[in-house]
């Protein structure tokens, strides 16, 4: 380390006397955005969105039969890795602050915890939308290239309607990850929580539906995965929309409210 000198140190500058202006939300957004990309792990996570989309597209071109080289196939092939990586990014945006203990600095520089967390939520949704746009673009390139290689017609069988409900489904998945990050404030616990949501719960619901006819009839109102599954098909009936809403309140809004309440009051160490 270099030698230390305090003689003409910048702290010796004259004391500012005006009361400082409040920190604008825009600035918090900018800082939080920077924090998503400024570690190797963060950078790779973001890069993996593109890498996975390209990999899925390439896999479809290589392995799908010629008549399946349609935009719909590309869109659903890309959707699968996205449904895993995007919620993980959302989880980490919250939980890593706690796991890395950066909350100590974050919340002393911005004491209003809700502002930091809102900024993270806004960025998570924005990132979800941008990622899905990039993914759709990569899927479109895949359709053009794939059909050209196979010498078949381009088939645009996924219209704006279904594409937008797919984006919605992915955003809901991200918000679920975000909610788990808020609820657990610990990376491993939140990731395990997400796999319970994505893998264990659906299994339980399938079993329930097979043994209980009442549940089988009303499954759409309780089984969040089942209700949101319709978003990937598109063309939802108003009952299906209502089911997306009701399951969203039970499985997303409610636990999010509990988690936020705890987060705002918890002790930061």
């Amino acid at each position: 380390m270099s030698t230390l000198a305090i003689t003409d140190a910048p702290v010796a500058a004259t004391r500012h006397k005006q009361p400082p202006a409040p920190i604008p939300f825009r600035r918090i957004l900018g800082v939080e955005l920077r924090k998503m990309f400024d570690t190797r792990a963060g950078l790779w996570l973001m890069a993996s969105i593109v890498i996975l989309a390209v990999t899925a597209t390439t896999a479809v071109i290589l392995f799908a039969p010629d008549d399946a080289l349609t935009y719909g196939s590309f869109a659903s092939a890309i959707g699968i890795p996205m449904a895993v990586i995007l919620p993980v990014i959302a989880i980490l945006s919250v939980s890593s602050e706690w796991s890395q203990r950066t909350t100590l600095t974050t919340f002393t520089l911005v004491p209003s915890r809700s502002r930091s967390i809102s900024a993270k939520a806004v960025l998570t949704v924005a990132l979800g939308i941008v990622s899905m746009l990039v993914a759709m673009l990569i899927g479109a390139v895949g359709t053009v290239v794939g059909s050209a290689i196979a010498g078949v017609d381009r088939v645009w069988d996924a219209g704006p309607g279904v594409l937008s409900t797919i984006v919605l489904a992915q955003i809901l998945g991200m918000l679920t990850g975000f909610m788990l990050g808020v609820l657990f404030r610990n990376t491993p616990a939140a990731v395990v929580g997400y796999f319970v949501y994505a893998l264990v719960l659906p299994g339980i619901f399938v079993t329930l539906a097979s043994v209980n006819t009442w549940f089988a009839d009303n499954r759409g109102w309780l089984d969040v995965g089942y209700a949101q599954g319709a978003l990937f098909e598109g063309g939802l009936s108003s009952q299906q929309w209502a089911q997306v809403l009701v399951t969203g309140i039970i499985w997303l809004v409610l636990p999010m409210a509990i988690g936020l309440r705890a987060l705002l009051r918890s002790e930061i160490k």
Binding site: S2, R15, A21, P22, I23, R27, K269
Partner: protein
């Protein structure tokens, strides 16, 4: 100015802080002294709103910390130098802090050179930092906003002797320019060389507070005499309290000014081998005594 008013914090049935009140004044370095687990860090976390208090309140510069519009510009805080993202570079950690406060980017380089982190070191990831480098980075973050107040939890932890010396001068200069400094330590020697005021906490309660001069005076006089029995007799007759000290077999620590002890010895015709104000030895004895019931070792001098 930091004002701590009847702070109480309980964790379940455990009382970590009980009715803690003290003030850190501008232009002075206030040392917050106490053994491990006394409640220093807890008090500081409550100050900056990271730990909710059970009752009582803290104001910094007359307001609750949470009500400060841009706290980094008014209060520099260093609670735990190890609490940084391991994957960020030192420079990045500072850049984020500086950006949050809305300061120009050049502040990052200024602060790095202030705390003696070289550009190569600044580009290293925090996971590869030594404890002392983390501490310097933490101090850089605390000072970046050119605050009027500093709250530092064990800032000397991990610093080398030159670093400790440098920090002492830095905090002295900061207070001399009118700043308020509150720093904690469990090391008396560390606090003694730098603090103007001392607040001693033990077991979640304030056990002593005052200016260093007052506390030193209260620490009494150290006296050595070959005729120890005679001296003890003379002191007892004059109803002056005294205690043996572990330093020497023929020495006593007396709760009176050296002048009083000297006159007494003269009256009794006792030849003294040494007579001086007890200073740090006395302060240390007092510190151990005051916090005796909280000492893990269970013994006091």
């Amino acid at each position: 100015m930091i004002n701590v008013d009847s702070l109480t914090k309980t964790y379940g049935r455990f009382t970590a802080l009980q009715d803690v009140s003290f003030t850190a004044r501008p232009g002075r370095v206030t040392g917050f002294l106490g053994p491990n687990g006394a409640g220093k860090s807890t008090t500081m976390r409550v100050m900056v709103g990271l730990t909710p208090a059970t009752s009582g309140s803290v104001t910094v510069a007359g307001r609750r910390f949470a009500d400060l519009p841009n706290p980094g510009l008014e209060v520099g805080v260093l609670l735990d130098a190890s609490a940084q993202h391991a994957g960020r570079t030192g420079r990045e950690v500072l850049t984020i802090a500086v950006a949050t406060m809305g300061l120009p980017r050049k502040r990052v380089e200024e602060m790095l050179s202030l705390v003696g982190l070289t550009p190569t070191e600044a580009d290293r990831r925090v996971r590869d930092y030594s404890l002392g480098m983390r501490q310097r980075l933490g101090i850089a973050t605390a000072l970046a906003g050119d605050p009027d107040l500093l709250i530092l939890d064990e800032p000397a932890n991990g610093l080398d002797p030159a670093g400790i010396r440098w920090m002492r001068d830095l905090l002295r200069g900061f207070a001399d320019r009118g700043g308020t400094v509150l720093l904690s330590s469990h090391l008396l020697g560390e606090i003694e060389v730098i603090a103007d005021d001392i607040v001693v906490i033990g077991n979640g309660r304030i056990v002593a507070q005052g200016t260093k001069a007052d506390l030193l005076a209260a620490a009494g006089t150290l006296v050595r005499c070959r005729d120890l029995a005679g001296l003890q007799h003379a002191l007892a007759a004059a109803e002056v309290d005294f205690t043996p000290t572990p330093d020497a077999p023929d020495a006593l620590r007396v709760d009176a000014d050296p002048e009083v002890v000297g006159e007494l010895a003269c009256n009794y015709g006792l030849a003294l081998a040494e007579l001086r104000s007890a200073d740090s030895a006395g302060l240390e004895a007092m510190f151990l005594e005051l916090t005796a019931d909280t000492q893990r070792e269970g013994v006091a001098a």
